[in-house]
């Protein structure tokens, strides 16, 4: 009879829904809830200061503040995702266009569960899978701090994704696949600094959001955590302890210096990392930076090896000539640059990334390294795109990836042509 299949479907949906709800409730057990904690207090200056520190750790400004505009957290900044652009919401306390009217519970649900205020779901461009590691008390402190920001009237329609990605409901499935609720749980077998670093990396600092490869659905590829990912026209390099492409040749001090000042003895930060350092890690304590470094140095990498392309290879010969004539005046003939000024290409793992996007971007368009109070010089690399054609860029890139004992896959003229094309389309 006709009613039986419909009834069966309805029953199935109800059962699945109940099971899903039960599952979700089971998952949420043990999660501290904001209502169980003291409300964000506009007069508790210790809480506000703690919130400010945490907001810096979590680098909220990196998305929610627009560079060049003096209106912190007012939103409107485009956030690139593999599926299109979103606009970061206004998280100033403005009641109509910001989060001023939100309750603490709603704020916590957004940050740690990816829930919009009226039941919808956030896209993981908001890194709630990472922020979930934070405690309710910490998120409340952030709320208390944000409450002190000057309210800005700025109405932002976040969802600029094209169909079908603009259907937020699809996030339900995504969350089932990629979102594990729950605060950070320390590993009792590891020292305190390691655990602090793990908390920061996996939690507020959300390093994997850029540095972990993604699946086709845009979730973290957990098995290759922190092994590098292409984002915003750059390649965020491997930051595991991989000897060739990662931090294997860096000491803890090297990592701390890089995060704190933007420069260390072998390299300099530019692009998105320059912004991260300016807004976030240059303000972190040495202890926290050391903790992050300690944790990263304990992450195994791929440890696969590539053969060095021989010096007699035509691309290497041409690349060596170009390098001698045009690159050595800063980076030195032996590739060792000048400490804290010109990156040591011979010792720089990011140069050897499997994806040469960052390398090609810097060669083609130039780059200004970051200025911090500790390292104000901010030397800049000139653009070579006008001077070297695709074949020559490929040759010199191949050379610097394989000279001086390094090894990395060759760069092809085709890759350079593609890089030029996609860079020309970028506005940043």
């Amino acid at each position: 009879m006709r009613s039986r299949p419909i009834a069966a479907v309805v029953a199935l949906v109800i059962v699945v829904g109940l099971i899903g709800l039960a599952f979700a409730l089971w998952r949420d057990r043990g999660q501290s809830s904001p209502s169980a904690v003291r409300r964000a207090d506009g007069q508790d200056f210790a809480q506000i200061e703690r919130g400010r520190t945490l907001t810096t750790l979590a680098d909220c400004a990196g998305c929610h503040s627009t560079p060049g505009q003096n209106e912190p957290f007012a939103g409107g900044r485009p956030i690139e995702t593999p599926f299109g652009n979103l606009l970061a919401p206004n998280i100033t306390p403005d009641r109509e266009t910001g989060i001023g009217a939100w309750s603490d519970a709603e704020f916590d649900a957004a940050v740690r569960q990816g829930k919009q205020r009226h039941g919808g779901l956030l896209y993981p461009a908001m890194p709630y899978p990472y922020y979930a590691k934070m405690s309710a008390e910490e998120v409340l402190a952030i709320r208390a701090y944000l409450d002190t920001i000057a309210p800005v009237r700025n109405s932002v329609v976040s969802n600029q994704l094209p169909f079908p990605f603009d259907i937020r409901a699809s996030m339900r499935v995504w969350n089932l696949l990629y979102f594990t609720k729950g605060e950070f749980k320390p590993d009792a077998s590891k020292p305190a600094a390691w655990n602090r670093g793990a908390y920061l990396v996996l939690g507020p600092a959300h390093c994997g959001a850029c540095h972990t490869p993604k699946t086709t659905l845009g979730g973290d590829l957990a098995s290759q955590a922190l092994q590098g990912y292409g984002i915003q026209g750059w390649f965020a390099p491997d930051i595991t302890n991989d000897a060739t492409r990662g931090l294997g040749s860096w000491s803890v001090e090297d990592i701390v210096a890089y995060l704190k000042t933007g420069h260390n003895r072998v390299t300099a930060a530019t692009g998105p990392m320059a912004e991260e350092i300016t807004l976030s890690s240059s303000h972190m304590s040495d202890a926290d930076l050391t903790a992050v470094a300690t944790y990263l140095k304990d992450q195994p990498g791929r440890f696969d090896t590539t053969a060095t392309i021989p010096a007699t290879d035509p691309a290497m010969v041409a690349g060596a000539a170009i390098y001698r004539d045009v690159c050595s005046a800063c980076h030195a003939i032996d590739g060792h640059g000048v400490a804290n000024l010109f990156p040591a290409l011979a010792a720089s793992p990011a140069i050897r990334s499997s994806d040469p996007a960052s390398l090609l971007r810097v060669i083609l368009r130039g780059a200004r390294s970051v200025a911090t109070a500790a390292e104000p010089t901010a030397p800049a690399m000139p653009a070579f795109g006008w001077q070297l054609d695709d074949e020559k860029v490929a040759a010199v890139a191949t050379y610097i990836r394989n000279a001086w004992g390094s090894a990395a896959p060759a760069v092809s003229a085709e890759q350079v042509r593609e890089a030029r094309r996609s860079l020309a389309a970028r506005s940043d």
């Binding site: 800063c330 000048v338 200004r368 200025a371 109070a373 104000p376 030397p379 000139p382 001077q387």
Partner: protein
């Protein structure tokens, strides 16, 4: 009608060396500072990267980094009896324009004046008698001594990472340095640069002749350096594209490579580029500056009010602006009254070109830096007895060849045809084996009654303002000095093993088309007497106490050294006086 901007504590006219030094000092004091720069922003990343900065045509020949005469120029004549005509294209000196000023394209030769240079009038009168000096020579004492300024020389040298070998440490003469220099409190921050072949050979020949050669003090880094502000410089790579060019790899001391990265980060500092100050404004009494008026590239006029005005626009623009603003009494050479424009000076330069056997000598002249060189100072200042010679003054000399750039530096022996097969052969055969220092003899230029600046009666700039006029010629004193020095210099070049030495004496009349350094000095000189100086020993205007005038415009005469080290030291000295005395009690710092 100029639109008025919000008031600032300090307005700085011109963001070159002294403007940057003053901006950094006064922002450290907590003041709100704005710098207004006529030219554009400049730095390696945006203007002279190391992949196209090495372009002799563009920068050396077509003058891309310098002021366009069409924006501002000067008129020139040798004698008061002549009509001054415009300098339509630069020749004798190359005025800077842009953030960093001359500090972008200088050679970075970083010298100190001799102790006697600061008290020249007193010293020479004491030693030789007043009648030994020409009647129309108007040299004066600075009003400060070397000892006053020594700590500030030190500050500038450490800011810049100057590479050198000390010759006199606290009175102890040091082997390998300049035995004639004034005592310094500590060694140079960086060791001297490595010298290429011809420069080393010059030193050897000089030593054999009994002189004491030493490396030229160089603002090109001999090694990586981090200055006291935390700014880092890289090592000089001897590219041979130094003076006239911007440095592409952060190894030449300039405001960009030593101060600006720190300065721009300060919330109490802003700069406007491509804005030309047209006037320093004063109140009705004329004794107080109220700020400046400037014009931007769209023709808008703006007024920037400020409590303190620092005029650091480069010598000749300082003088021009003071004249156009009606500050200080203009100099009248006939009546011998007034101060603005008096004691205008330049430098007395000559060369000796040596030609060597190409089978035995390969100098690779293209391997050089801006401040490379081995020099001797035996004939500078009053380092030798002038009684028998009939002139005063002198200069350092040395193989200071900075380049082998082929348009500029393909010397051929005198008498070689200027074109044709013989010319071509001579160029080819001599390029690698000739020594052409450029400014091999770098002599003083003392001041005279009839060498001065004022406003031109006829010619105007693009804004309709009168051009400033230069009346300048060599006097016998300088020509005699130069002949003597050139002969001594040529002897050393010969002793290096040259088969031919062509002496290129400096001859009068002063020629506006021949480049002879950009060391124009004077016109707003410092001193102890307001009747014969424009500014006091702290570089404060005698007439307008809230106006300070930086730069070599303050030199009563020019010594036998490049002026930058001294004018930068004086800027630090003045900044100290402003911070520790003036700000606590604004008003005249010296009561004459």
């Amino acid at each position: 009608m100029a639109r008025r901007l919000p008031r600032k504590d300090v307005v700085i006219v011109g963001l070159g060396w002294t403007g940057s030094i003053l901006a950094n000092e006064l922002t450290d004091e907590g003041l709100d500072v704005i710098a207004i720069e006529r030219g554009p922003w400049r730095d390696a990343a945006t203007q002279f990267p190391p992949n196209y900065s090495q372009d002799e045509l563009r920068y050396r020949i077509r003058h891309e980094l310098f002021l366009r005469p069409d924006q501002t120029t000067f008129t020139f004549r040798n004698k008061m009896s002549q009509t001054a005509l415009p300098i339509r294209s630069w020749g004798a000196f190359m005025p800077p324009n842009g953030v960093g000023g001359g500090g972008v394209h200088w050679n970075a030769e970083t010298w100190r004046f001799l102790p006697s240079d600061f008290v020249l009038k007193t010293h020479l009168t004491e030693r030789y008698g007043a009648s030994f000096l020409p009647a129309d020579m108007t040299i004066q004492d600075f009003g400060v001594t070397y000892d006053d300024i020594e700590p500030y020389y030190d500050r500038f040298e450490y800011l810049c990472g100057t590479s050198g070998t000390a010759g006199n440490l606290k009175g102890q003469i040091q082997e390998g340095g300049n035995p004639f220099e004034g005592p310094r409190s500590r060694p140079y921050p960086n060791p001297a640069q490595t010298q290429p072949f011809s420069h080393t050979l010059f030193a050897k020949a000089a030593r054999e002749l009994g002189y004491k050669p030493f490396p030229q003090p160089s603002g090109n880094m001999s090694q990586p350096y981090t200055n006291p502000l935390g700014v880092r410089l890289g090592p000089c790579t001897y590219c041979g594209f130094c003076e006239w060019f911007g440095c592409g790899n952060y190894s030449k001391a300039s405001p960009q490579t030593t101060i600006l990265p720190v300065l721009v980060r300060k919330s109490n500092f802003t700069a406007r580029d491509n804005c030309e100050v047209t006037r320093i404004n004063t109140d009705k009494s004329g004794k107080r500056a109220t700020g400046v008026t400037f014009v931007d590239t769209s023709g808008e006029e703006w007024e920037q009010p400020a409590d303190l005005v620092i005029l650091s626009a480069f010598t000749i623009f300082n003088v021009q602006l003071l004249l156009l603003s009606g500050i200080g009494k203009p100099y009248d050479p006939v009546a011998n009254t007034g101060v603005i424009g008096r004691n205008f000076t330049h430098q007395t330069i000559s060369d000796a070109v040596g030609f060597f056997d190409k089978a035995k000598f390969n100098f690779n002249p293209f391997i050089a830096s801006g401040s490379i060189g081995m020099c001797i100072d035996e004939f500078n200042g009053d380092n030798f007895d002038h009684a028998a010679h009939g002139f005063v003054g002198g200069g350092y000399m040395g193989q200071v060849q900075t380049n082998g750039r082929p348009i500029e530096t393909t010397p051929v022996p005198e008498g070689t045809p200027r074109w044709g097969a013989a010319w071509k052969t001579a160029v080819r055969d001599n390029y690698l084996s000739a020594v052409k220092p450029g400014t091999g003899v770098h002599g003083s230029f003392y001041s005279y009654r009839d060498v001065y600046m004022d406003l031109d009666p006829t010619y105007k700039d693009r804004l309709g303002r009168p051009l400033a006029r230069m009346t300048i010629d060599f006097h016998d004193n300088e020509l005699k000095q130069n002949a003597f020095l050139t002969d001594r210099f040529a002897e050393i070049i010969k002793a290096m093993g040259a088969h031919t030495v062509d002496k290129q004496y400096r001859k009068g009349p002063y020629d506006i088309t021949q480049y002879q350094t950009t060391h124009v000095c004077g016109g707003a000189i410092m001193g102890s007497d307001p009747n014969t100086s424009a500014i006091n020993r702290y570089l404060q205007s005698w007439d307008v106490p809230n106006l300070f005038v930086m730069g070599a415009s303050g030199f009563p005469q020019n010594a036998g050294y490049n002026p930058t080290g001294t004018l930068a030291a004086l800027a630090f000295w003045s900044a100290d006086a402003i911070r520790n005395q003036y700000l606590k009690n604004p008003g005249p710092l010296v009561h004459a």
